[in-house]
């Protein structure tokens, strides 16, 4: 099992040693590596965008008894490429009396916020751009900055529908942020670290979703619901609400500016799925049960990055599933659900989790 498929970290290490030899100084090598990493993230983001949009359309189509895109390429796999070309070549329209600067900055904030957090996600051992000891906190902070982009987009559009959408988004995202954070916090009590690689390492003997008795599954469900709301996805897509607000905050956006909102939504879906896969489902860690060594060896045959992708993909599918089977909540029901149900539940969950963590009452304590 010494192949590069399994040990991506060795590959990365060999490459950085080689780079340091070639460049000569370690500072210059770091600089080159940073640029390369940024480039890789950019590639990843665009590929993810293409793949997720295609996936969403196919998932939607098959839930709705149709085929989805079939014409461009085999099974329509190049449809999103064609759509991207269309979006790039479209005219960028700024409405009259709109605030031109904020109208341009809005989608950028959204996109940058979504883009930045990708670097912290551990795709496999060693395959992570930045290893930060407060990575989880950082991800939560940065991704919630995206709401600023939505508010400024709604404000700058000079459209009452957009304004309503932006106000809804502000109220919604800030509220659901609380539940999402509280749910993650319950697991942090068990892991004792905010470093994502450390969180994955702590699940060597089993995933937190079942190792933390009951609170793990509760935290997972709360995080899944709250993060769906944070991504503005159905049943919480009241900020877009195309049947009532005609598109909400992005009504007045076209071409690449619209594409940035669109892309950042999908990147956010990926991010929250990756975070919940990492925190609750063991990230790249194969399915391990402490003591069953032969079983663990079998699961070790699958490379870590496949584990990571499969877990993330499963959660992405669940979030898409929500979207195509649920109607939309009303704005007051949405807030009531968060403040009167989800947040108290998350708080109670956190309290129980802290008792369990302190008393050490969880499975496979090492």
């Amino acid at each position: 099992m010494q192949s590069w498929l399994y040990n991506v970290d060795r590959l990365v290490e060999t490459f950085s040693n080689w780079l340091e030899l070639r460049v000569g100084s370690s500072i210059a090598a770091e600089f080159v590596k940073a640029i390369l990493a940024a480039g890789l993230i950019a590639v990843l983001v665009s590929v993810l965008g293409l793949v997720l949009v295609y996936l969403e359309r196919k998932v939607a189509a098959h839930m709705q008894q149709r085929l989805g895109p079939m014409r461009v390429g085999p099974h329509g796999i190049f449809q999103t490429v064609a759509d991207t070309i269309k979006l790039i070549s479209k005219e960028d329209i700024i409405p009259a009396h709109a605030d031109r600067v904020i109208h341009t900055v809005g989608p950028l904030i959204c996109f940058v916020a979504a883009f930045m957090v990708i670097g912290f996600i551990p795709f496999a051992p060693g395959l992570q751009v930045v290893s930060l000891n407060v990575a989880l906190l950082f991800i939560l902070g940065i991704s919630s900055a995206g709401v600023l982009g939505i508010i400024s987009a709604g404000w700058a559009s000079n459209n009452k529908w957009s304004m309503l959408g932006a106000m809804r988004a502000a109220a919604q995202i800030i509220s659901y942020e609380l539940s999402a954070t509280l749910a993650l916090l319950a697991i942090i009590l068990f892991t004792g670290t905010l470093d994502l690689q450390g969180i994955v390492e702590s699940q060597r003997t089993g995933w937190w979703i079942w190792r933390a008795p009951v609170v793990g599954i509760f935290a997972f469900l709360i995080y899944l619901i709250a993060s769906t709301a944070e991504c503005n996805r159905t049943p919480f897509d009241i900020a877009e609400g195309e049947s009532e607000l005609t598109g909400g905050f992005h009504t007045e956006f076209s071409a690449m500016k619209f594409a940035m909102f669109f892309l950042s939504e999908f990147i956010n879906v990926f991010t929250v799925s990756a975070v919940s896969a990492t925190v609750f489902l063991g990230g790249w860690m194969p399915f391990h049960v402490d003591g069953l060594d032969s079983l663990n060896k079998v699961f070790d045959l699958v490379p870590p990055w496949v584990w990571f992708s499969a877990k993330t993909g499963a959660i992405i599918f669940i979030i898409m599933w929500f979207r195509w089977t649920f109607p939309r909540l009303r704005v007051d029901q949405l807030m009531r659900f968060e403040w009167k149900f989800l947040m108290p539940l998350a708080l109670a969950n956190l309290a129980v989790a802290s008792v369990l963590a302190v008393s050490g009452f969880y499975f496979f304590r090492s």
Binding site: Q64, Q65, L164, S243, P327, L329
Partner: protein, 379 residues
């Protein structure tokens, strides 16, 4: 307003905000056509709605005064395009009354079958659009999948899929195709379990229930005062269905229940329509069994229909309520005066009153449960 109308429409209290006027439509995804609602908002709370109509006004009533009765059938299909057969039927009944003729037996049954199929197709479309208005996209495609089967039957019998012209004064235009009966029977067999599938997909959903239960309550006396008809009236607890209270055609020969609910809220209107689909299937099944297997389908009419002097009135239960035609004839081939009573126009009147105090998103829900078709309002 009548003095005997006592009940107050329940309205949630709005906190104070600055007021804002906003235009919902004429280009808006949820006004189902080109209805324009001027909405007065306080934050998200609706303070008032004022519907503005006339964006698809085609002066159908006036055109009816220049067209012969046979030509005018084609315009009736364009009133409420989702109840084309019922509109045709009401007009055909009026002309038959004026000329004093009776359509053949087989034609009467064909009319019932076509009208009930139209009712199902219309409610299917409504169900799909209702889901979409609430943000669930999937029901829309399910509804269209099933509506396609009815459209195929219509296409076989009369050539068109939307603005059908099959029912005409004197009967129906022509004998249906040979497979008509088996097509309809297989549709009934297919669709009866599909209604349960609709229920599973949407009705039990907690969000649907939250969004519709108690929202937009229309009390029975208000509904009567505004002249609401159809499912909107029946959902308010008034057992009024023209097919029962004043049976036309051969409706008195069938056993069916009128779908009635007492709550008067959006949920009641939803349940009433789903139940109506079931009852329509029942009517079609009985009609197919009773229908004479052969015989004429069209009574001979004079080649130029002259409407005898007098006043004539005919009405039918369309998918959205009561469609009625009123004609003053003066012995010429065209009516001297024509008036159409369209169900949607009366139904829409109740809307501004019951939506006050609810949220922006409820405008969409409640309007959707009223199931308006704008060309029918504007005429």
């Amino acid at each position: 307003m009548n003095n005997d109308v006592k009940s107050e429409v329940s309205q949630p209290q709005a906190p104070y905000y600055d007021e804002m006027f906003i235009n919902m439509g004429p280009q808006h995804p949820s006004t189902h056509g080109v209805l324009r609602l001027v909405v007065k908002l306080a934050g998200e709370t609706v303070l008032g709605v004022s519907p503005h109509m006339g964006y698809v006004h085609r002066s159908i009533e006036k055109m009816g005064e220049t067209l012969s009765p046979m030509q005018f059938i084609h315009l009736t299909s364009r009133l409420d395009y989702l109840s084309a057969h019922m509109n045709n039927w009401a007009w055909a009944m009026l002309v038959e009354k004026a000329l004093g003729i009776k359509p053949p037996e087989r034609a009467e049954y064909l009319r019932v079958i076509m009208a009930e199929l139209t009712r199902i197709a219309s409610h299917q479309l409504w169900w799909g659009v209702f889901g979409m208005d609430l943000g669930a996209f999937t029901p829309f495609l399910y509804a269209f999948r099933d509506r396609e089967k009815i459209n195929d039957i219509f296409e076989k019998t009369c050539g068109s899929r939307l603005t059908m012209h099959y029912i005409c004064p004197g009967g129906v235009f022509e004998e249906p195709d040979a497979e008509f009966e088996s097509d309809v029977r297989s549709f009934i067999k297919y669709f009866a379990p599909v209604i349960d599938e609709y229920e599973r997909l949407l009705s039990g959903n907690i969000i649907i229930q939250e969004r519709t239960r108690g929202v937009g309550v229309l009390p029975a006396d208000r509904a009567k005062a505004y002249g609401c008809t159809g499912p909107v009236l029946r959902a308010s607890g008034v057992d009024y269905d023209l097919r029962k209270v004043q049976p036309y055609g051969v409706y008195n020969r069938f056993e069916f229940k009128t779908a009635v609910a007492n709550e008067g809220d959006s949920w009641a209107r939803y349940k009433v329509r789903l139940e109506e689909m079931r009852q329509s299937l029942e009517i079609i099944r009985q009609a197919l069994d009773q229908m004479p297997k052969d015989g004429p389908v069209r009574e001979k009419l004079p080649s130029v229909i002259k409407i005898p002097p007098g006043r004539y009135f005919a009405r039918a239960e369309a998918a959205r309520g009561e469609i009625a035609f009123f004609v003053v004839g003066d012995g010429k081939p065209v009516p001297w005066r024509l008036k159409i009573r369209s169900p949607n126009f009366s139904n829409l009147q109740a809307f501004p009153e019951i939506i006050r105090g609810w949220r922006v998103a409820d405008i969409v829900t409640v309007l959707s449960t009223f199931d308006i078709v704008v060309p029918d309002i504007d005429r």
